[in-house]
Amino acid sequence: MNGLGTFPLGRHLPGDSFLHRSDPRAKLLFLFGIAIAAFTARSVAAVLVLSLLVPAAIAGSGVSPAYVVRAIGRTAVFVGILAAVQLFIPRPEPPLFVLGPLSVTAGGLKEAVLVWLRLLLLFALGALLTLTTPPLVLAAGVVRLAAPLRRVGVPVDAFGLMLMLALRFIPTLLEALERIMKAQAARGVDFTSGRLRERIVALLSVVVPLFAFAFERAEAMALALEARGYRPDAPRTSRRRLAFGWRDVVLAATLALALAVAAWDRGRGGP
């Protein structure tokens, strides 16, 4: 239960690295493009090639590799559960082996590994994006990118604010989660073992107070924003001007390469 507050989700690490100094819009587009590439690629090998971006991005972020690797490791288990769903989708092929009522096929296994790798890749790059970009700057980047949608009536600025608040909120929530888990553990809740019924109670004993806490905090934060003159529909300025630089060109070139790999892989022998 310890160390939740140090999980990279929504955390920002001040710094001066390549990624810190790249434009938030470039980083967002890069992440979006890699997502497309990852889901375009059809072979495990191609996705593994794309995964080479992770060590490159770690190097370009100045964040301790051991820390990022550990965070990926912790996530791998959860993402693994999501990916395992692929194993159980019925497929018209002979099973490799049978697991109770379910039969696992070669195709299912491949899909599960693919989903697992893709999600981990996106988690790692997403974590590095938030680690190297302050939430306010990230939200400004999203708003600027989505600005054309304003013309068709999309509330781009409100969306940007919600994004910023959500990012800003994650560490606060994780901290509260840790405190509530400690309090319930002291009252005898065991989060690591027990029968199903006990596990449900353990979950409830954390989730119910966490929701109450989140509502309380969200209300106060919304109030504070309004008090500071934030209006989603009003024009605002930014003391930090966004500008593309050579780093963003490097990101764009890397992305083009990744997309090419993915397209080639798909064209090579997709179904």
Partner: protein
């Protein structure tokens, strides 16, 4: 009231109901706020203090009654409330709720940015606000690295950067340790001296002794509006009770001593004055 300029802010018969059929959170409040005064608002939890803060800061419009800013009634719409939000800054109890940005200076800039001020004007205001709150040295620090007291002063800097005429502190000292509390109160006094109106909502009666005026709320109603001294005397003499609140320490000590046969009638109720009064009373008796 002086004839020439209208007061900074007036509430006239302000009533707030959160539910049409529920009890009012505030009932028919009349209140005047002038530039450069310090008004302490006292009340137990649930007395309507925070609702009053929201009305003053233009975050909610009253269900009935009027809010008048420098002589002009404030509208009840989002746009109508806008000038009030510009004129009155709000500092909340929990500093964590008020921080939006990743560095101290970006956070202070948030308010001016929302008012679409030009970047060099924002820069000037950020610098000034950080200087007034003693945070210059922490300019580029992550807010998460600040102490509780520093975070709360950051919230004040964020409000000051908008250059408001009044600052409302909604139990802003309640989560701070003694030292940080003293430091924040000092910042508040400086802003008062600079001509801003200070509204200090608290349930620490000791902090209310420095007020130029005292406003006491009980279940949404105004129970007292006047100078602190007569109020504390009335408390000490048992002519007035405060639901949910305890009298300041000096008042309680005077009561305790009187109950033990030492009649103390100090002119002021700071602890030193009460102790001296006890000695004087004993030497006379």
């Amino acid at each position: 009231m002086t004839g020439g300029t209208p007061p900074l802010l007036r509430l006239e018969g302000v009533t707030v109901r959160y539910r049409p059929d529920g009890p009012p959170a505030l009932a028919e409040i009349d209140l005047t706020l002038r530039a450069g005064e310090w008004v302490s608002v006292l009340g137990a939890n649930g007395s309507g203090k925070s609702t009053l803060a929201r009305v003053l800061a233009g975050l909610i419009a009253p269900t009935a009654g009027a809010v008048i800013l420098r002589g002009a009634p404030v509208g009840a719409t989002e746009t109508g409330l806008w000038p009030l939000r510009q004129a009155v800054g709000l500092v909340l109890q929990n500093p964590e709720d008020q921080i939006v940005a990743a560095t101290v200076e970006d956070d202070v800039a948030f308010g001016p940015e929302n008012r679409a001020l030009p970047p060099d004007e924002i820069e000037r205001r950020v610098t000034a606000a950080l200087r007034r709150t003693g945070l210059e040295a922490l300019r580029s620090v992550e807010p998460a690295r600040l102490s509780g007291g520093e975070k709360q002063r950051l919230a004040v800097a964020g409000a000051l950067a908008v250059e408001p005429a009044a600052l409302v502190f909604d139990e802003a000292t309640s989560m701070l340790d003694a030292e940080a509390r003293a430091r924040l109160l000092a910042v508040m006094r400086e802003e008062q001296a600079a001509g801003r109106a200070i509204v200090h909502i608290t349930h620490e009666l000791e902090e209310a002794e420095v007020a130029s005026r005292l406003v006491v709320l009980d279940r949404g109603r105004l129970r007292y509006d006047g100078p602190p001294a007569p109020f504390f005397t009335a408390l000490a003499e048992g002519r007035l009770a405060l639901p949910g609140l305890l009298p300041p320490f000096g008042v309680r000590l005077a009561q305790d001593l009187t109950a033990r046969g030492i009649a103390v009638r100090p002119a002021r109720f700071d602890p030193e004055a009460v102790v001296e009064a006890a000695w004087t009373s004993a030497s006379k008796g």
